[in-house]
């Protein structure tokens, strides 16, 4: 099989550029979003995918639970029900036009995955099997939980991701694996390409493109405790910021209630679903206080807040920052039959046998609802008036359409990444059919990225990257975590400034160009500090509690003032805000009660 | 760039190495054997002459070794063939242990008979 050869390399002035590549479509990110777009566009156009990790190592592969679609394979279900659940879950901040597309197209997207070869689990009739998931209900929230999450055992993300990679191989998509995007070339409202560093061999590569798409995933790594992969440093977001474009709703970050203590690795909701107890340092089932009827099965944000309250008030185990999830009473047989992967996880990652010992857990940074603002066709917007940047697209966790609003429901994000990735692909095709000319590539395209690498390799300070990052993560977790208030957020703003100054004074050990992960981690850290300032500023200005954004000084949702999306720009030191209205079509905001 | 070629030895590797060595041993012996047998055409004197030079007790003992090699290659060869047919692939270690037991068992029996024929055992089998 022949894959498309690298495009003819043409010269661009400037020092230090290894080579210039030309592709109709350049996609950054090989997760579900990026590769789904690549599959869509690759039939007709020359598509390249750049990823800093080998494609199948993208974090989408870590998802376990499932992908939502109202297939009604197992029982009655309707897209309208799915729509209601998603809107309610979003605490009414989700844009309902986008959500309608999400739930209506979901069955098509999931079945396409099946046609591509995804090994879904099956019902006895041979259809795609579906399971229950938090927040997905029957009959507009009036019925019980519905079987809506399509799954492949407990490796749904893995199965989907590998399937997409396989189809990309079939479609002869060109992969630039282990290339790290360092800057985005946008001039005069037109996107012209990206600049990326070849991780393995070293060297800066310029990718000249008619269209660029971002599917760069989340940024869980800004938190100390996170379920996210180490590659999830949100690079895409700061590249967009640096190109002078805004980010949307960055203050909304989801924390999952049960992550392994210190590791943050996800302990699935199934543990509580099967009847596990949450126990504090005093040996109490503390959920009695917070949700006497639903107990451990209350919604994610509420459980996370309860656990954090216990910890904050000194009732963690031995006063430490964790509580126990205890499943010993379920008995060995049930544990091994219903929760084998949990048993394996606790054993492999904590050396704990959960048949005999309780599992230490704490809430863990999980998902970013906000991101690069896009319209329903995946076009990136650059102001509050929905004006698109020419030739620039985004989808997946890095983007904000916004279907998740203030809080996302489980299994909706695999869906969102693939569905809007697919839509990106389709609108890229439409765009390329009409725009056959190459945008001009400015001669100094790579300057910013080259300067950054050169500075990092040569700077001779006293600070260590690992230490600054550690401080950043701890600060973000403690001061901009599950609970926020004015005083701590203001403190944090100052802290971040200090970190920024310390970052100016770093030194890295590794000075080589080849596989220099020291260099790349340093670059990632710089980017993280950059957009963290936006998260904090957003959280500070949004004076209400909505979805995952919980201000102790403003505990109520305030639709009058805050039923709107935040847009934030960063120019030098200055952060500028603008707002845009939430699109409401079918369901008027009501109080969110479960 | 150096590439390390080494891995913890376990039953599978062990079986493979022994099979390979025994196979190579056997083909060498086979070629020798054909040459020896070819002396049959030369008549009784020629054949017995060459057989005599292989007739010393040293060679007799080596013959016992040869039988061991043959039997190992034989039973492990059958094991490999079974695995190729998809039999006991998940239990390959058990299969190897079974092959080794049969191998050692038969070899022991053969050796006993051969030794007793040579009068090297205090009893006859």
């Amino acid at each position: 099989m022949t894959l498309k050869d690298p495009e003819a390399i043409h010269d661009v002035e400037g020092v230090g550029i290894h080579s210039v590549h030309r592709h109709d479509v350049v996609i950054i990110g090989a997760g579900l979003a990026g590769m789904r777009a690549a599959v869509e566009a690759s039939g007709e156009f020359d598509v390249a995918v750049i990823s800093k990790v080998f494609p199948t190592r993208s974090h989408s592969g870590g998802a376990q639970g499932g992908i939502a679609a109202s297939l009604a394979n197992e029982e009655e279900d309707h897209w309208e029900w799915h729509m209601f659940d998603t809107i309610k879950g979003s605490d009414y901040l989700g844009d309902q036009d986008a959500i309608e597309i999400l739930v209506k197209e979901a069955p098509t997207v999931v079945r396409e995955f099946e046609h591509f070869g995804c090994p879904f689990s099956r019902t006895p009739e041979g259809r795609i099997a579906q399971r229950k998931f938090g927040g997905h209900t029957k009959d507009f929230g009036k019925g019980g939980p519905v079987l809506r999450a399509c799954y492949a055992v407990d490796r749904t993300g893995h199965a989907l991701l590998h399937t997409l990679y396989e189809i990309c191989i079939r479609n002869e998509v060109r992969f630039y694996s282990e290339f790290q995007a360092m800057s985005l070339i946008v001039r005069d409202g037109v996107c012209r390409g990206v600049v990326a560093w070849d991780i393995v061999n070293g060297g800066m590569h310029v990718f000249h493109a008619k269209t660029v798409m971002f599917g760069t995933g989340g940024y869980g790594k800004v938190f100390k405790i996170t379920s996210n992969a180490m590659a999830n440093t949100g690079d895409g977001l700061s590249l967009v910021l640096k190109a002078g474009l805004p980010l949307e709703d960055m203050e909304f970050v989801q924390f999952h209630p049960t992550g392994l203590y210190l590791q943050g690795i996800l302990v699935s909701e199934a543990v509580r679903g099967e009847g596990g107890y949450l126990i504090n340092g005093k040996g109490e089932r503390f959920m009695e206080k917070y949700a006497p009827s639903k107990m451990e099965l209350a919604p994610r944000d509420l459980v996370s807040r309860s656990i954090q309250t216990e910890i904050n008030e000194g009732r963690g185990i031995n006063g430490e920052a964790y509580v126990h999830v205890d499943i010993r009473h379920l008995g060995e047989e049930k544990i091994m039959k219903q929760l084998p992967q949990i048993h394996e996880l606790a054993w492999k990652f904590m050396h704990i046998d959960c048949i005999k010992e309780p599992i230490p857990i704490q809430p863990t940074g999980h998902y970013s609802m906000g991101g690069i603002p896009t319209n329903i066709d995946g076009e990136v917007l650059f102001d509050g008036k929905n004006t698109p940047v020419k030739g620039f697209y985004a989808a997946g966790e890095c983007a904000c359409v916004s279907v998740h609003g203030g809080n996302r429901l489980g299994t909706n994000s695999l869906l969102e990444a693939s569905l809007f990735g697919r839509r990106c692909g389709k609108s890229i095709i439409r765009f390329l059919r009409e725009n056959r000319d190459w945008p001009e590539l400015p001669a100094d395209s790579a300057k910013g990225a080259l300067d950054e690498v050169e500075w990092l390799l040569n700077t001779d300070g006293t600070e260590k990257v690992g230490e600054i990052r550690d401080d950043l993560q701890v600060l973000m977790t403690n001061k901009c975590g599950i609970f926020r208030d004015r005083a701590t957020l203001e403190e944090l703003t100052g802290d971040l400034k200090k970190l920024e100054e310390r970052y100016e004074n770093i030194k890295i050990d590794d000075k080589s160009e080849k596989f220099n992960s020291d260099l790349l981690e340093a670059s990632e850290l710089g980017h993280m500090i950059e957009f963290c300032e936006l998260i904090v500023a957003g959280a500070l200005s949004r004076e209400e509690s909505r979805g995952a954004h919980s201000r102790t000084d403003f505990p109520k949702r305030d639709d009058e003032k805050w039923l709107k999306h935040t847009l934030a720009w960063k120019k030098g030191e200055e952060i500028r805000f603008d707002y845009k209205p939430v699109t409401i079509t079918r369901f008027q905001p009501q109080e969110r009660k479960y | 760039m150096r590439v390390i070629k080494r891995y913890r030895i376990h039953m599978g590797t062990f079986a493979w190495i022994l099979h390979r060595l025994s196979g190579l041993g056997l083909i060498s012996y086979l070629l020798l054997h054909i040459w020896v047998i070819s002396h049959l055409s030369g008549g009784e004197r020629s054949f017995d002459g060459i057989m005599h030079s292989f007739g010393s007790p040293m060679f007799k003992l080596m013959e016992i070794g040869l039988v061991g090699v043959i039997l190992f290659h034989l039973f492990n060869g059958l094991r490999v063939t079974l695995i190729d047919m998809g039999v006991m692939v998940e239990k390959q270690k058990t299969l190897f242990v079974i092959a080794v037991i049969i191998w050692l068992g038969t070899w022991f029996a053969f050796s006993a008979i051969m030794l007793s024929k040579m009068g090297l055992l205090p009893f006859t089998v």
Partner: protein
């Protein structure tokens, strides 16, 4: 990246024949060893051997045994060498040598069996 296109050399049938010949050898060789080392009493001499080698049934068995064993053993040798030798011309050379050995020994051995007449 592109997988190096090799001319597909197959290899299924030799592989299969290696197993079949192995099983055939297992039977014949076992019988052979039992015969020679257990059933025959005393010295393995001309008389003892020649007597058996003379009958037509034994002739056929021995010749097939010879050819199958040669194939199995030499093809086995080729597999081993193919694993470790990657220099083109050397491979061709070795292949030639092995094929020649096979031919020479097969003819040599077969002639021994055919031409031999007990008491003649």
């Amino acid at each position: 990246m592109k997988y190096k296109e090799t001319t597909r050399s197959g290899g299924a049938l030799p592989w299969l024949f290696q197993r079949i010949s192995g099983v055939y050898l297992a039977i014949v060789l076992f019988v052979h060893v039992v015969n020679l080392h257990i059933l025959i009493d005393g010295e393995i001499g001309y008389a003892a051997i020649a007597e058996r080698v003379a009958t037509p049934l034994w002739k056929t068995i021995n010749i097939s045994f010879l050819i199958v064993a040669l194939f199995h053993g030499l093809y086995g040798l080729w597999i081993v060498l193919e694993d470790y030798i990657h220099i083109g011309w050397l491979r061709v050379l070795i292949y030639g040598v092995i094929a020649t050995i096979a031919l020479v020994f097969a003819i040599f051995g077969t002639l021994t069996m055919i031409t031999f007449q007990y008491g003649g």
